[in-house]
Symmetry: D2
Subunit: 392 residues, 4 copies
């Protein structure tokens, strides 16, 4: 069959039509165009209307295998106790690897977790003819911070504008707006608030400048040192001490061997220009983010972290995970969909007032994933897990 360019979804089925009829029409149309039966996608266990705020051109719902790992014992300021963590993934052996590490943390008294910073930023750019107009503008922005803040905050119940940090590059001024955003991921919130603020600035500064709302200084979903260094979302650190005998019993390796392995990755991380250093935060983040309705692409920033492994004076294993850029939500986005909400509920993390708790559980869970994979890599059982998987 030859497709022609006019073969788009028929105009009468609008991309924002979430009726069962529209979904079926799209399915039929796509099925016909591609000469392809669309089961099982057409089973559509979700009522389409539920997905109104989450997608367009809806044709059904994907399914991803869902498992549970843990319990992990977490001692944070918001999470305190034992948690089972849902993982949605198609990557065999990964959940099990995390699971083992999480259990080992629990057996060792749990992970300590603290959130150090908590803000999201966006950097509009203002344009001028010559650079010497910039310092005057920056001074004006400083003098009018309160008015700008009011404009920004008029658009949101939860968002608070914390600061505006200017930087001149050539004849452009980049203003980094930092916000606290409550329990949402906050990206839409800060877009809208900053749009309002920038429109105000443009007008109040009497037409002597123009602007664009985004500039890639604050990097949303692109790895960047700006985010790593100044944090983007929550900056969270988790640590744990695992007694040598627990390491030996559970992983057939030793803290010394794990340190020796980890240490050998450090020169390589520097040589290769890795942004931060860790083993596989991204795997756990992806699985938990899918299970809990997060903005999946945020794993790009969230996975930049710094993992440290040392021996204690007693010869036990000290391990930490520092995540400067963890953006998660317990309200908004995909967090309200039925499966996703249920997964949040499994951790008692659904709804308002729960986002710090979720961040703490995630950080502790990643720590578990690191212990497990580094144990396996330190005694060559890592490749064997892959070999076993092939045999399943």
């Amino acid at each position: 069959m030859i497709l022609t360019k006019v073969d788009r979804v028929p105009k009468k089925i609008k991309s924002e039509d979430y009726s069962m009829e529209a979904v079926k029409l799209r399915q039929e149309w796509l099925s016909e165009r591609k000469g392809l039966a669309l089961e099982p996608i057409t089973h559509l266990p979700y009522v389409p209307e539920m997905m109104r705020k989450n997608i367009e051109n809806l044709i059904g719902s994907m399914q991803i295998p869902l498992g549970v790992a843990g319990p992990i014992e977490v001692h944070g300021e918001h999470a305190n106790g034992l948690y089972y963590v849902p993982f949605a993934t198609t990557q065999g052996t990964m959940l099990e690897s995390y699971h083992r590490g999480m259990n080992v943390i629990t057996l060792s008294g749990g992970a300590q977790v603290r959130i150090e910073d908590n803000k999201v930023d966006i950097t509009p750019v203002f344009l001028f003819n010559r650079m010497n107009e910039a310092p005057v503008f920056i001074e004006w922005v400083r003098d009018n911070f309160e008015s700008i803040r009011k404009e920004a905050e008029s658009t949101t119940r939860y968002g608070k504008l914390l600061s505006i940090q200017p930087r001149i590059i050539g004849r452009r001024v980049y203003l980094t707006f930092a916000y606290s955003v409550g329990d949402a991921s906050g990206l839409n919130m800060i877009n809208i608030a900053s749009y309002k603020a920038c429109e105000y600035i443009k007008q109040a500064y009497s037409g002597r400048t123009r602007y664009y709302l985004r500039s890639n200084m604050s990097s949303d979903k692109k790895p960047s040192y700006f985010n790593l260094i100044q944090s983007y979302g929550k900056r969270v650190t988790a640590d744990a001490v695992i007694p040598a005998k627990i390491i030996k019993k559970n992983f057939q390796t030793t803290p010394e061997q794990m340190r020796d392995f980890w240490f050998s990755s450090i020169p390589a991380s520097f040589q290769g220009g890795m942004i931060g250093t860790n083993a596989h935060y991204a795997n756990g983040l992806a699985a938990i983010f899918i299970a809990t309705g997060q903005d999946i692409a945020q794993i790009v920033n969230a996975s930049m972290g710094i993992g440290i492994l040392e021996l204690t004076e007693e010869g036990d294993l000290y391990i930490s995970a520092t995540l400067p850029c963890l953006i998660v939500a317990t309200v908004g986005g995909g967090t309200g969909l039925p499966h996703q909400k249920k997964c949040l509920e499994i951790m008692d993390c659904a709804g308002e007032g729960k986002v710090e708790k979720l961040a703490e559980i995630i950080a502790a869970t990643l720590l578990g994933g690191e212990i497990s994979i580094m144990a396996a890599l330190s005694n060559s059982t890592f490749a064997e897990a892959d070999i076993r998987l092939r045999g399943r």
Copy 2:
């Protein structure tokens, strides 16, 4: 209810038990522990057995809204024609934004796409007492490349060992093994092959060294310049020329305005230490990766790319997307699960011999996403889309 540390999944339900009974037992157990009804997760539309190679501790399957974008016209060496691209996402307005950009590419004659490089690497580390033992070892590896290659390739039907690149750092030697991997993502394949090769080296080099299989030089799922510069997976470039009148009609902006916006993000990308520069490759990658059963965490590397926007001599819009680190698969991993396979089939990309085609379609699709978001950011309709979303 107080959880105690022994409250793990009962030992009799092994994490690798995929029977319906085991799944139900896990659900009951978790439901009881958390005092929580687990619907809709318990609906379990997949036969659990299907997920044997994809997860452990299975409790059900997640659902993610699934839509379709396009068609996009692609002119690659493997993909050639019009393609509908499945997106699984919970991020409202994102699919629609990509959809508009893809249509605009199609209206303009399609995107050119080429794959420039195609390999995956892994870097074991070999340890010595002093650095001066390293050059001798490296020479030995060079002299014995053929034997090492045979060992590695003995473990795989599809993988080919292309080269071994050594680097000395202090008293360690890092050997970067580069493979071609066929239609799979190849990560398990190269783990197993390199394990075999390293065991051979260790033995044949008469115990004068020891090694670890991974070292963070080849960065799997962590952003890294090593990957960006030397490529990891497929290095793909797509470009398109969009006539000014199509830009104006579809986006109410102009190529000049889009260039002005894009250009203002360049100083910011340098200042912020962004790895590559682009607008939101990660969003499209996440949605397509979920829909097609990819290893989701690979978006961390895949999203590092270089997007260029220029005016042609005729004043039309030239735009390109270069993706040095695209790892995708059409066999293995999650690609064989029912929904995922169906989504691959929608693009005629399921199974062997299709991976380059899939890579080309993805690169062209990302180009569409860039056009659309940059158009919206250049004329301030971007924030308005967020505002509209709130009103849905």
Copy 3:
């Protein structure tokens, strides 16, 4: 002749002995050991005593060819007028290239220059047993900032402690102390001040922590994004507009061609992971730093900058140089030596109250170097300059 390990400089000639006799003894000893006449080094035009604070084991003084470039017209807040800039270099054609660019700026009305930020930082690290001790310590530091500041400032007349920024990584707390440092480069000053402050913290916090004075978070003389993003020393931006006709007359190229050249380097800068982007700031910095007695190794940080080249609406050339990490001094270090001081005087930049002026002149000068080399690279006269050099 065989050297034995005991052949060190005789102990009686202490490395800090600056008498003419000691210098001569070292020369004789070295001459004898190496069987080598040491002229012209032995001419020693400096009185050795002068160099007491600048070197040890003195054997003479190096000579470097010294030339003068300019005048360059500078419009800063501290420099305002025409300046001749001394270059000490052995790199043929480099001074001349800068000279041409500086003259072209002057012919075009001069460069605007502004200093945006002005601080130097150092990051001691404090060690704890577990991460959860860190937030308490950070709170204590915040509560005791005034006492800490007094301790630090008690060691210096000019240094002011502006802020302390904490970051937790694992079980360590990194405290970034930022200072304003007056007309000196400030490195010794902040070492001493922070040492005093840290000793105070250690004691006042009752032995519950220990520390190291430096940690590589604040990167002294190593390229680092921390410095690029948060600035280290002075953050300076210079810009200029060069009329198309001046470009054509002086460089036989056009603004369009220069833009085309410059633009082609942008994708490469991203691909290659360049820190910032510019053509050759480091050359001018090295020559001026040597001529004016700066700490030469500071060119490592200073040379990380962001150069932007655009066309104005009139088709003229807009060019800017943003230098986030310029550390220079007009007092202390090598600035008081006779030649060095004379070179500072040529720019009216010797002594107190002159350091911002010097920074502004340097930034404008680098802009000149960029114009000149980019003109030459845009019309292929660059290689020809090298060919000409060979023929001299």
Copy 4:
């Protein structure tokens, strides 16, 4: 006195006139313009004519304090024995600190040094209308490598074109030409050779492309991961083992304490986005580069290195320095000037066939500098050295 824009060096004194008369005229002119006596610059101990290939607009010669450090025992493939290393610097206590570390290496049996790679590259960019023209061009370049090589090598006696590595970004093709360059730094050599090669390509490819000779992919004198990862100049590694008792006697610290200090800088290096990690390679490089007539700005690349510090099984100190980007010369540039040549002769490194030896001595010397500063930082004598300096 008011300077007008016409006040440039009188046209009759050409910037390339190296006669004593021209120098004196420039001095008088500058002296008059600035109302400033120019002694001691006017002493001019060099015969101006000597500096013909090294500078323009000559007005005299700078002087920099010159000292000697060492001896350091080096065991390389080219350097083998004890070496005294000249340092030209104005940075008090720096030479002495290096000196102590170098002596400690010598007392411990010397440093091992090896050169792993040895090439310099340059990356011209070729422009096309659309990306799909790129693969054809790249194939053509591969097919015509021999002809291109001949053209390039026709311009040089020593340079050899080793390889051409292509990369497509959008519609541009970047060709990285790698050369071996003999004893020169090679920058002029590869500019001229590549210019010849590119002119040939342009013509032979029948006008279907145009190019620029440089693109910032190969980064000359700008810090860049491209260089760090693929090396630029010589890739050199030095290591040494220092017995605990020598550490204790010479530095009043222990290997454990030094390791503890060094280790605490690792999380900070990752957090701060340092390029590589080391303490102060740049200081030693600057001092030796000035003393030996190197291209000073090359310390920007050369200072990016990876330093590792560990304990041996016996509890002694293992330390290594890996320098991926060391560009040095023993012929050409400033190496033939009288003082500079003499300093090279002190190390038996003047002239042809000596450049690898020089590279090895430098790497070993930097290792000495690291030991010394890390010892001082591990026991708080670092700040005390600064305090002592102030008292001199």
